[in-house]
């Protein structure tokens, strides 16, 4: 199972702030049929309620919302930001965003282990940020 495909990658997205960047990353999931419109809004709501906790590591955020009917398939999208934006914690500015659509259960767990193993690579965020094509991103993520 490959984690990512070209239609869920956005390079040098021009989002102007954290909310726009969450919506932009979420829209790639929506357009590819992974989530409903409502899920994108739920990610924004979560950010507004729980704060910037999903800015998990320096320059990296992983917005997501509760597993629900709004998630049609488990999956991720990935965007890099032309102008890095602040989420409001020590990991600012955020340059790379992976939006996560999660269904609960065993399948999701296996999926998250794969996501984690990508993120555990040395200098992963800088490497993703320096990619100039979707193919370069895919080569790192779908190894």
């Amino acid at each position: 199972m490959s984690l990512l495909s070209t239609e869920r990658i956005g390079l040098l997205d021009e989002a102007k702030d954290s909310i726009e960047s969450i919506i932009s990353a979420g829209n790639y999931l929506k357009q590819a049929g992974y989530v409903t419109d409502g899920y994108v809004q739920s990610m924004v709501n979560s950010f507004e309620q729980n704060g910037p906790y999903f800015a998990l590591a320096p320059h990296f955020a992983m917005p997501h919302a509760r597993p629900s009917d709004e998630v049609l398939k488990t999956g991720i999208s990935l965007i890099t930001l032309k102008n890095p934006v602040d989420f409001g914690n020590k990991n600012d500015p955020i340059k790379v965003i992976i939006a996560l659509a999660a269904k609960s259960g065993e399948e999701h767990l296996i999926f998250m282990k794969k996501v984690a193993s990508v993120l555990m690579q040395e200098n992963i965020i800088e490497r993703l940020y320096s990619c100039k094509s979707a193919d370069e991103i895919l080569a790192i993520v779908n190894q």
């Binding site: 910037p52 906790y53 998990l56 997501h64 597993p67 990991n91 998250m112 282990k113 996501v115």
Partner: protein, 96 residues
């Protein structure tokens, strides 16, 4: 050896907390320890019996107000050193 119950907490218990759990597992393994690490969402974190809680800086405040066990706040979920520096001594103390 006593096994502690550790929980990793995020907003919904499905995304960030799983990454954190994997890092805590890795830190325990590196130090030759075996404990049970589970994930949960911020709403139920304080109603689950456990020995120690790992979470983000943002959620730590909310959780500490209601928790009766140590709450470790992590800024970088991918940084093994931070997780070890903040958590290892507390885990060792709980076992002694």
């Amino acid at each position: 050896m006593t096994r502690l119950k550790i929980i990793a907490v995020c907003g919904f218990g499905v995304g960030s907390s799983l990454l954190l759990k994997m890092k805590v597992d890795e830190m325990l393994k590196k130090n030759g320890m075996t404990h049970n690490v589970e994930t949960c969402d911020v709403g139920s974190a304080t109603s689950i019996a456990c020995d120690i809680i790992f979470t983000s800086n943002e959620l730590a405040g909310k959780i500490s107000e209601r928790a009766s066990v140590p709450v470790i706040a992590i800024g970088n979920f991918l940084d093994l050193d931070e997780i070890q520096d903040k958590g290892l001594d507390i885990i060792k103390n709980l076992m002694s």
